[in-house]
């Protein structure tokens, strides 16, 4: 049996990884293999997809606001209107440096036409300050996943469950499955789990650090101040589920993370844990996203895109297919995974990672 040949092998389970695979296969005519399962239907959440993020750099806001409408149209085309909703997320902080960073984010978001308003301490408790970002778009992962399967098929994307994966130094990849061997000219490791699982250690970028993350789900409780809240000091998201439970995810060891979340929710909420897990995630040392080929020639990496990765998927697909606009190409070039501090600085606000190093 001859080996199947592909242009790209996309590894990842996030909506961004799946959108990337479909766009490369459908809009850019590439032959694409996807290695990753739909799992929003049964796993604890580890991420959220928003058209806004904790961003301070104007170039990044420009990229995000430039592609988010396109990504939203794509999501509704794939899975209908239920795949997308509008939310007013609150970002908050207590540490003075994080509070200062929040203020920078708020002004920068306002500069890009996003209604960003301060939120008073009375709504957040303690000495916390916050901002609400009005009318942000959110991808509803479970609903989106119901349409992704069919869309990916329409885009001629093949899915595989591999036994083994070998990523070469030049980025080519060999995938062994029950059905035989598949090869792709270029591996794209499109989420943290894929990078941790498949990137050979010898290719590990110095920009990365492994961080212990946790995710917990609580039993239902009364509404939070906003359905999505982000604690900038800790990099922690709180999202209130449709049935009233609160899902929290972010850096930290599970038990300490749990204590912290219960502390955030306050003693008046008698909630129990309805789920919990811990896992290894990635952070970049400068807090900014990272793209491109490791060491300039290996597998393509997509890392640290935070909550907005899915909304830049169309631009990323164009960049990987060599069809990006000049502005898009410049932004991705600034965020290459092998960037150094001597090049254009792209640092973002970084919550403490050292204490959670995995």
């Amino acid at each position: 049996m001859s080996d199947a040949e592909f242009d790209f092998a996309i590894f990842g389970s996030t909506p961004m990884a799946q959108l990337l695979a479909g766009l490369l296969g459908g809009e850019h005519g590439r032959k694409v293999l996807l290695i990753g399962q739909n799992r929003a239907g049964y796993r604890l959440p580890r991420g959220v997809d928003l058209s806004v993020g904790p961003i301070t750099r104007p170039q990044s806001w420009a990229m995000l606001t430039g592609t988010s409408a396109e990504a939203a149209r794509l999501a509704t085309r794939i899975a209908g209107r239920s795949a997308l909703s509008r939310v007013d997320p609150i970002f908050f902080a207590e540490d003075p440096r994080a509070v200062e960073a929040l203020s920078h984010m708020r002004h920068m978001a306002g500069g890009f036409g996003i209604a960003a308003e301060p939120v008073g301490q009375s709504a957040l408790g303690g000495n916390r300050s916050g901002m609400v970002l009005r009318d942000a778009m959110r991808l509803n992962r479970p609903q989106l996943e119901t349409g992704l399967e069919r869309w990916l098929t329409d885009c001629s994307v093949e899915r595989l469950a591999p036994h083994s994966v070998a990523v070469d130094n030049d980025g080519a990849v060999k995938i062994e499955t029950d059905g035989g061997t598949s090869r792709a000219q270029q591996a794209v490791l499109a989420d943290d789990e894929a990078i941790v699982a498949w990137l050979p250690l010898r290719q590990w970028p110095t920009l990365f650090q492994r961080v212990r993350h946790a995710s917990i789900l609580t039993t239902p409780t009364r509404p939070l101040a906003a359905p999505i809240m982000f604690e900038l000091d800790k990099g922690l998201f709180l999202t209130q589920q449709a049935e009233g439970g609160v899902a929290a995810f972010g850096p930290g060891e599970r038990s300490a993370f749990s204590e912290h979340v219960h502390g955030l929710l306050g003693q008046n909420r008698q909630v129990e844990q309805a789920g919990q897990t811990s896992y290894a995630a990635l952070a970049t040392k400068d807090g900014a996203p990272a793209f491109g080929r490791v060491a300039g020639q290996g597998a393509d990496i997509v890392a640290n895109t935070g909550c907005f990765g899915a909304f830049i998927a169309p631009a990323l697909a164009r960049w990987l297919a060599d069809r990006a606009s000049a502005d898009e190409a410049r932004w991705f070039d600034q965020h290459l995974v092998n960037r150094t501090s001597r090049q254009t600085r792209v640092d973002e606000f970084q919550w403490p990672q050292e204490e959670h190093a995995a």
């Binding site: 203020s103 306002g110 609903q143 039993t219 038990s255 502390g263």
Partner: protein, 658 residues
Amino acid sequence: MRPQINRLPENAPKGFAGTAIDRNRPLRFRLDGRIVSGFAGDTVLSAALAAGIDTVGQHRDSPIGLTSRAHPAISHASLANDPQFALPMARTPAQDGAEFVTFGVERSRGMARLFQPGRTLGLKLDAAHPLSRPWRTIPGAAETTTDLLVIGGGVAGLSAALAGARAGLTVTLVEARGFLGGHSGLFGTQEGEDAPEVSMARLSAEVEREAAITVLTATQVFSIRPGLARAHRIETAPGTSRGRVIDIAAARIIIATGALERLPIFAGNRLPGVTGCLDAYELAARYGVWTGQRAIVATGSSPAYRLAMLASDAGIGIDRILEARPESASRFIAFSRAYGIVQSPGTVVASVGTVRGGGLLAVHTQNRQGSTLVTDRLLVCGGWQPDLTLWHIAGGASAWDADRGRLAAQGDIDSIALAGSAAGYFTRRGCIQSGADAVDQLLGRERRPVDDPIIDPLHETPDGPLAIAAPAAEGAPSYLDAGIGLLQCPAEVPRKNRLAFWRTAPRGLTMLSEAPQALAVNEVAAGVDLALIPADAAGIVAQERVASVPLSVEQGPPSPDSWTPIETTEIPAFLIGRYGPEAKILRIIPEEARILEPGALIFPNTDTRHPDQSIGVILRHHSAGAVGIVAAKIATEYPVTVREQGQFVRAQTAPLDT
């Protein structure tokens, strides 16, 4: 007062008179105001069931049966609404003169309460986690330190406790129920074994005699990690019972929590009168409680036939056994034929409904003919799942065993071991030997093979896959398990109706990830059988969604004193390079008196407003006013415009030290 209409007679054969109760010591207590009679040895639950109260309340407009696995918390009426004093119905002894109330769930009130059937507690179960256990949020009191903690007082746990004591360890054995012995009784005897009751009594007596073993009955462990377990214990004094949450420090822990009976999936599988075979057996054997005069059995597992025969001996009419497996062989099946019990192979229950005007059930079957049978009670058995709840809470892994159709533990946890059915053993001999083996494992001793003599499948057909009926468009809901979670089968996502005036039905849960409650191990197993969870993800989902209570040291909030003060000229990393490598820090003095916020962008004039055109940004305030970082080309005493809150503020730059 409610008579004990569901109590079997004192002379009921085959141990169905109730080994735990003393019929010479009748008692009466109040439950939500109604008088319930029972006997010494009854629990509040067994007495309520004996008195014909078999319904918890309404969930999604459908009644939910009151069972050993699904009952509300209660408390003494004088201590109502304090979780410190909440008690579980199934573990709280019935006491003469006591007055109990159901806890934490809204009850029917007023006229609705007056006219509700006497068989129901009348609880409204649509609220969030209505059958939760309030004591789970209470911190534990450091109570006991022991060398070996054995969780579960069945034959495996008893054997482990004895092996631990013989190895010179101090042992604490905790058992959720009020007595030792476990659930071996239902499963009968294999060749070469003594009767289960004999095994259970012998091992229990040996444990009671062993000075190194401390037995804590009515104590249920609900959280665990290496070195520590947290339990809810009921302490009984004359006239009252008190619940306490205790922490037990243990160098080694053995989990011997047995197996859980699975619930076949069909519409109406939680209606009053639908009962698991193990629950029915235990209520009859321990308390002499049996609902109704006639029953139908629906099973894919052979021990249900043994229950049918025991019930038949006790005078209960067994109308039919609906066997989900198309072909099955078992010694119990052969014996039950001799009893003349009609068997319908390859038949599953399609749905169950209540028959108006009485507590009867209409059982609709799903086979070639399809028929409806009317009975008092439907006894169901969907097979058995090792109870890995505590194993998962402790961080243990598991994986789906496709051959057995269940989750099985995998790997090891430092200082924690499994024994008995929880470890995956099938026979009583295997369970007993596995108790001693678990001690050997924890002590690092050489381990001997455990003899688990499973009968050849030719003679004893293994359990079939979980019986799952086709989804019913109408009727009572179908649930994934019989526990407190009340987790319904996720519904199909309804298609959007194009007609705006057409009201769509209210949506229920459409996927398991949205379930706001923890998933019991049986619910995860059902999720796999329903293809809601991929089999290869079942272990991780079970571990992720287990109801865990963190056992960690309390951490205080971060102290503001611990934050390093910000220097006036400190440039955050996210601003480095934004205004060029030579960017400088200047004071920004607004023309009008106002505070300029950090992050407000500085522009050369009011004509420019896009962030890309900014020439600087306000860093922060210090004692002398606002400080900004600006591009190198900006001179001091240079007029600039600061954009803040949609307004332009005229300002001027100045050296920092002015």
